[in-house]
């Protein structure tokens, strides 16, 4: 970076067209260098973003994108190449996560992590990611912004983010990785990232696949698959205590007091078994539930939804 560009970027704000031209030229260098390493991540039916940080195929992302370790991940590069990988660890206290690409090729694009303290207020930063999820024919959208403030490992910028960007990279103007997208607030100036320095302290544990910390439970609870019944095990039978109106089980005809005897043909005796089987279903999938009412057995198809869908109905 030229001395003039460095000075322009360090100034409080650009004063004229020449300053803007220097920022623009530097931004384009950063994009050229960093865009190829921005990846889309798909885990089951969920999608987020990430960034490759070394030639061996290590990806940094947000903790809430992977949720847990050892999950299968599909990784899509901006050049269209697809790889499989596995989620490593997650620190849900700061929303940090890692993914490893299986059998990385020799020519993997990557962006190095910035060394030392970064992200001071006013610093110019660049974001990419896959807002709204991977869209065919759309390169990861580039956004320019500045650090507005920072508290510990949480950095706020005015680079706009939206769902799907989660886990995507925040770059400095030298083309190094300085943060990972985490959350947004009600204004366009509320975009929150985890500083990569936050990853440093957790590095070995994340690499080892350890999962710990805070709001895993929130996200996991919200995304947990449900069919819309509560129940109890009574005398070795799985009894529906409440089939909530408007939810899939009730829509399929299951009523309070029905006894669920089998799922997809597999007999069950306890409500706990029902919960466990439903928990491992994919939201959107359909299960066949056999239930008994007044001595008559019926089998119905019930759609699996997520818990958060209930709160919205």
């Amino acid at each position: 970076m030229s001395a003039a560009t460095e000075l322009t970027l360090q100034a409080r704000y650009p004063r004229n067209v020449e300053d803007l031209q220097r920022i623009e030229a530097q931004l384009q260098r950063v994009i050229k260098r960093c865009l190829p390493s921005t990846v889309a991540l798909q885990l089951g039916r969920s999608a987020g973003s990430g960034v490759i940080v070394n030639p061996e195929g290590l990806i940094l992302t947000a903790g809430h994108v992977i949720g847990d370790s050892s999950r299968s991940v599909m990784i899509v590069l901006p050049d269209g190449r697809k790889f499989t990988g596995k989620s490593l660890g997650a620190n849900h206290d700061i929303d940090a996560g890692m993914v490893q690409i299986d059998n990385p090729p020799d020519d993997l694009p990557y962006t190095p992590i910035a060394k030392g303290t970064e992200l001071v207020a006013g610093q110019w930063v660049v974001t990419t990611g896959q807002p709204g999820g991977l869209i065919e024919g759309r390169a990861p959208p580039v956004r320019l912004g500045r650090v507005l403030f920072r508290e510990d490992e949480v950095v706020c910028t005015d680079c706009t983010l939206v769902g799907g960007d989660s886990g995507g990279p925040l770059f400095n103007m030298r083309g190094e990785l300085v943060g990972i997208h985490s959350s947004i607030g009600p204004r366009v100036t509320h975009n929150f990232h985890v500083a990569t320095t936050g990853f440093e302290n957790s590095w070995d544990r994340l690499l080892a696949g350890e999962v710990w910390g805070g709001h895993l439970s929130d996200e996991m609870l919200a995304n947990r698959p449900v069919i819309g019944v509560s129940g109890r095990t009574i005398q070795g039978r799985c009894v529906v205590v409440k089939s909530i109106a408007g939810l899939p089980a009730a829509k399929a005809g299951i009523e309070d007091g029905d006894v669920i005897t089998a799922i997809d043909g597999k007999p069950i005796d306890t409500f706990e078994e029902l919960s466990r089987i439903v928990f491992f279903q994919d939201p959107g999938a359909t299960v066949k539930i056999t239930y008994e009412r007044n001595g008559v057995n019926r089998t119905v198809s019930v759609k699996i939804i997520t818990a958060d869908e209930i709160e919205r109905e």
């Binding site: 807002p131 939206v162 947004i184 958060d308």
Partner: protein, 362 residues
């Protein structure tokens, strides 16, 4: 004092089951958690914002010329869009869908003119207006395409730009999202309205229960299925002409389609995209647009977008999401301009159309 800010976890997103939806849907969730921040976030000085007044002021020379080629477009007394002056004798391009009623254009020097709509491209949502003025300053189009990472300024009629940003994605097609009329149809396969949802486009247009919809624009609608399919081809924000049969009489109304059923809660994606400002009603379905990250209000679309040379690289056409604003590039605009000016894309005259439809010869 400790400020508490309710945050929304960005979350992951899920591909929608609907193949025809442009963007993947998100799980409908508005998860909130309280994150305490210090005073810092309340005291962000404005010079620090990438689109703050200080940074915008650096673009003053950049927008100087183009601001003379910009108009504020008003409909029924309110600014609904900006406009780009593309002909010295009063030709102004703007976004088409917000125009209704009496349209006026206010120039940088304060002069205000009544405007006629001489052409509309529904496909691109672009309209050509004509005002009775001469010797206006024509917008200068750049011969360079807007490359990713270029600064772009949205020109207004003031000294500094309305807003600034950078080009995010090169030109591409943005697929449409299905429009919603807001009616419930009879289960039998005829396009009979059995319910009109409150606050819907259909209700505003005056559609009533027991109306039979027989045409949408010029397309005859023989069945319920064809009605549904025809409506879905339009975008939210599109205006369609409905020919109805009511009490054995034929009448024509004009309805504006919405993006979702009134009263339906928005998806997580819609919720997140609504954080931070209003979006254009017509914001999907463009054959070729490039994307930039400028945060605009819907009524700041339609005007010129200039590069650091001060030349227009396009015309803003929609504020589409929290992270995206779309612009038509110079090639698209200049190609369309020919058709708009030639009368090939003259707006329909409803009174003539209505007469044609009800005439027995039809």
């Amino acid at each position: 004092m400790l400020a508490v800010l309710a945050l929304c976890i960005l979350g992951t997103c899920r591909p929608s089951a609907l193949a025809q939806e442009a963007a993947p849907g998100f799980t409908p969730i508005e998860q909130e958690r309280d994150v305490p921040f210090g005073l810092d976030q309340l005291l962000v000085p404005r010079w620090r914002l990438a689109d703050g007044p200080h940074v915008r002021a650096a673009f003053r020379d950049v927008v100087r010329n183009a601001s003379h080629s910009t108009a504020r477009v008003r409909s029924d007394g309110k600014q609904v869009a900006l406009g780009s002056i593309v002909g010295a004798d009063g030709w102004i391009l703007t976004k088409a869908s917000p125009l209704s009623g009496d349209v006026t254009c206010r120039l940088k020097d304060g002069r205000t003119y009544k405007a006629d709509i001489v052409g509309i491209s529904g496909e691109h949502d672009l309209a050509l207006l004509k005002i009775e003025a001469t010797n206006l300053r024509e917008l200068r189009f750049s011969s360079k395409t807007a490359t990713v990472g270029s600064f772009v300024a949205t020109v207004g009629t003031q000294r500094d730009p309305e807003a600034v940003g950078v080009v995010s994605v090169p030109g591409r097609e943005v697929p449409p999202q299905p429009g919603v009329l807001g009616i419930q149809l009879d289960q039998a396969n005829k396009p009979l309205v059995v319910h009109v949802f409150p606050e819907s486009g259909a209700e505003r247009a005056g559609v009533k229960e027991n109306d039979l919809i027989i045409r949408i624009n010029e397309t005859p609608i023989p069945t319920r299925v064809e009605l549904i399919e025809t409506v879905r081809k339009f975008n939210p924000g599109d205006r369609v002409k409905l020919t109805l049969e009511r009490d054995s009489k034929t009448l024509t109304v004009e309805a504006t389609l919405s993006g979702r059923f009134p009263g339906w809660r928005q998806s997580r994606s819609q919720f997140q995209n609504s954080l931070g400002g209003k979006l254009s009603v017509r914001r999907f379905g463009f054959p070729d647009v490039f994307q930039h990250d400028t945060v605009l209000a819907p009524n700041q679309c339609g005007g010129p977008l200039v590069n650091l040379d001060g030349e227009s690289v396009g015309v803003n056409i929609a504020r589409s999401g929290r992270t995206e604003t779309y612009a038509l590039d110079v090639q698209t605009v200049t190609d369309l301009l020919f058709d708009l000016r030639s009368g090939k894309l003259a707006p329909r005259r409803p009174e003539l159309e209505a007469a044609k439809i009800t005439s027995p010869a039809q």
